[in-house]
């Protein structure tokens, strides 16, 4: 297993420059996407002795190319250059990775198992998803991606300030496991780890996949799921060759979509798959979050330390998670509502500002759909009930920061951007901000092709196979049956592994028969 960032492109990653003309490939399984779901599933299948081809729309980047230039990196590793937002009462920007490794390259690296409570609920209809049955998969995932506590001392001032506040109030903290090996706190998670410490699928699952004989093709934009006799038999699309458009076709015994909770339903809708069940693109949950920050009298230095070392789980039962979240200056500048000279003055104190966030288990449901002419439309409305939780959570986080010694707290609420003292926190309750006056963000999008035990209740069955199209499987965040309330990468990987093991068995049985 490779823990160190490989600077040379593995020979098993094939770029358009290494091929000529249209590509025609065949495999036992073709997997679309190389992120948390795709890479995990592909590795499991390849290690079971199947011929697997992974198609990735983005490019491969070595660690040395993850630079500190935020606009440049957004253009390289994020879908739509990072300019993605879902529409609703208040637009919610979101980030989706588009490179080898998918969103695991640009996430914060938090590793949480699905909470027992959530698994118990899922297991009522889908016994395969019980915590007892998933336990071995969770363990395998955590070992492979190196889910570890931070090295002591690497946390940095932003995390320390958060802990100080929680400790002062006696609130329970949980130490984060992150998929990293010696994260040294350079704090550039969101534009790609510059030291190779983050064990994204690029450095965890994919080296195993290549060792097992798997192949990965970059710049492959899948447009069509091919069918024959009522079964999925492959995919085709355009090779995003910078010089000229070329086509590719992959014939396979099984097709797996792992493009994420937005791209997978869009691809299904473009191919008119799943129309009968009526669930494609629905039950969209986003685990929305808002950012708060606080100014201290001594430097906390966002730059130095890890993105997030712990989470405050004191209010977990209310569906509220509070967490520090150290971010580079460019992102810090974007969370303040100001611009121009006012923002410049605020940013003068950047070294003294600690940033944090609030995540809320959402009960609203959005929708991902195609408008006429194939235009994607992503709709999500934060509900008033969830907003009430956000207001309470903002008050709690402000209290925590003041307990840690903050001089001022900055909120994402338009009518009350600054809380000047602990006494001012009450104002949040007296004049609660509306959804329309709140800035949200999300990186946890899930549930648009949910797994369900009955064809009328979801898009895929307990094996991950589409109810409407045999031979088509889905293994990404879209199959999660509901919101999970924690960072989702470990859950996605565990479910992908579960789906992969069943698929490998099925394909092998068919050969034997």
């Amino acid at each position: 297993m490779s823990f160190v960032a490989t600077e040379q492109k593995p020979a098993s990653i094939i770029t358009p420059a290494e091929t000529r003309g249209d590509l025609v490939l065949s495999a036992d399984v073709v997997v679309v996407g190389s992120g948390a779901g795709g890479a995990t599933l592909a590795t499991t299948l390849a290690e079971a002795g199947l011929r697997v081809v992974v198609l990735e729309e983005g490019a491969w980047y070595p660690t040395r190319e993850y630079t500190a230039n935020v606009p440049a990196m957004l253009g390289r590793v994020m879908r739509a250059g990072g300019g993605t937002a879902m529409m609703g009462r208040s637009p919610v920007p979101y980030l989706e990775g588009k490179c080898v490794g998918g969103t695991t390259v640009v996430n914060g690296g938090m590793c949480w198992r699905t909470p027992e409570k959530v698994l118990d609920e899922w297991a009522r209809g889908l016994p395969e998803l019980s915590s007892a049955r998933l336990d071995a998969h969770f363990t395998e995932v955590e070992t492979t991606i190196h889910a570890r506590y931070q090295d002591d001392g690497s946390q940095g001032g932003v995390n320390d300030a958060f802990k100080r506040g929680a400790d002062a109030l006696g609130w329970k903290l949980s130490r984060n496991k992150r998929n990293q090996r010696h994260c040294v706190g350079s704090n550039d998670c969101v534009t790609g780890c510059p030291s190779g410490a983050k064990q994204s699928t690029q450095y965890s699952w994919l080296p195993r996949f290549f060792a097992a004989g798997g192949l990965l093709y970059t710049h492959c934009k899948v447009q069509k799921v091919r069918t024959e006799g009522g079964r999925a038999t492959g995919v085709s699309g355009t090779l995003l060759d910078p010089w000229k458009a070329r086509r590719f076709t992959v014939q396979a015994r099984a097709v797996v979509l792992a493009c994420g909770a937005i791209q997978t339903p869009l691809l299904l809708q473009r191919n008119q798959i799943g129309k009968a069940c009526g669930h494609v693109g629905r039950h969209f949950t986003i685990h929305p979050n808002i950012k708060l920050s606080a100014r201290f009298s001594t430097p906390v230095d966002n730059l130095q330390g890890t993105h997030q070392a712990w989470q405050c789980v004191e209010f977990r039962n209310e569906g509220i998670l509070l967490a520090p979240g150290a971010i580079p200056l460019a992102f810090m500048s974007a969370i303040f509502p100001d611009f121009g000279p006012r923002l410049a003055e605020r940013m003068r104190d950047a070294r003294y500002i600690a940033t944090g966030g609030i995540l809320v288990d959402d009960h609203g449901e959005g929708r991902v759909r195609l408008l006429p002419f194939g235009v994607p439309w992503i709709q999500y409305d934060v509900t008033d009930a969830d907003q009430a939780k956000f207001v309470r959570a903002a008050a709690l986080l402000a209290e925590l920061y003041f307990a840690a010694g903050a001089e001022e707290v900055y909120t994402p609420f338009h009518h009350m951007p600054v809380i000047g003292s602990p006494d001012d926190i009450k104002t949040l309750y007296r004049h609660p901000p509306r959804v329309e006056d709140t800035e949200y963000f999300t990186a946890h999008i899930m549930g648009t092709c949910r797994m369900h035990a009955h064809p009328k209740g979801g898009v895929v069955d307990a094996d991950g196979q589409a109810w409407d199209l045999p031979g088509l499987y889905i293994a990404d965040a879209s199959v999660l049956p509901g919101t999970i309330g924690v960072n989702p990468q470990v859950t996605i990987m565990a479910l992908a592994r579960l789906i992969a093991i069943k698929l490998a068995d099925r394909l092998k049985r068919r050969v034997a028969a």
């Binding site: 739509a80 730059l303 330390g305 460019a330 500048s333 611009f339 121009g340």
Partner: protein, 203 residues
């Protein structure tokens, strides 16, 4: 449109006015970043899909012709001075309808990302990111070399006191403190220089 996108003619003038108004300025920071920021914003737009490029152009035309409804004067935005541009954009940014605010916020995010990623801005604010990253990479290499071959079980942290003390973990490279001047003087004439020297000597 597409990957060859460039701002031309009126759209360039509007974007120039926006970048000029939104780019950070400090009295002690003498670099005018407007052109660099505009170039970076243009690069960001180039990476967007055509639908978002159209949305950005829509935002630019929107604030050009609709902004007189929100602020002083009746001239199009690109013909206004910096103060007027800022005043109008603040009015839009504080509008009660979030979709109206979006006209400005998208541009604000692009300008902020572009400006605050620049090494000279980071340096002015007390961050030497490139040097920090280089030092961290080297430090990690040392940690990897010092790691025992047998990895402890997940989720144990790897570096314990035998490899590096927690207190020293982030001290491997410390940037200088950010400039937080108690007083700012402008100019280098004799009186000003004397006042600056006196202030410095007074701590």
């Amino acid at each position: 449109m597409g990957p060859d996108f460039v701002l031309r003619g009126r759209t360039r003038r509007i974007a120039q006015a926006v970048a000029d108004a939104m780019a950070p300025r400090w009295a002690e920071f003498e670099v005018d970043l407007s052109d660099e920021v505009l170039e970076e914003v243009e690069r960001m737009i180039r990476a967007y899909p055509i639908a978002i490029q159209l949305a950005v152009l829509g935002s630019l035309y929107g604030i050009e012709f609709l902004s007189p409804l929100f602020g002083p004067g009746i001239k199009p935005l690109s013909a206004c001075d910096r103060a007027t541009v800022l005043q109008r954009m603040e009015s839009i940014a504080n509008h009660r309808v979030p979709q109206v605010r979006m006209l400005v916020m998208l541009l604000k995010v692009m300008v902020s990302f572009s400006a605050y990623s620049r090494p000279e801005v980071e340096g002015f604010l007390g961050y030497r990111r490139q040097a920090w990253r280089t030092a961290r990479q080297a430090f990690r290499e040392r940690l990897l070399a010092a790691d025992p071959a047998e990895l402890p079980p997940v989720p144990t942290p790897l570096a314990d006191g035998r490899v590096v003390s927690p207190a020293d973990y982030l001290r491997f490279f410390l940037p200088e403190r950010a400039a937080r001047p108690a007083a700012v003087t402008q100019g280098v004439a004799q009186g000003v220089a004397t006042a600056a020297t006196d202030a410095k000597e007074a701590g």
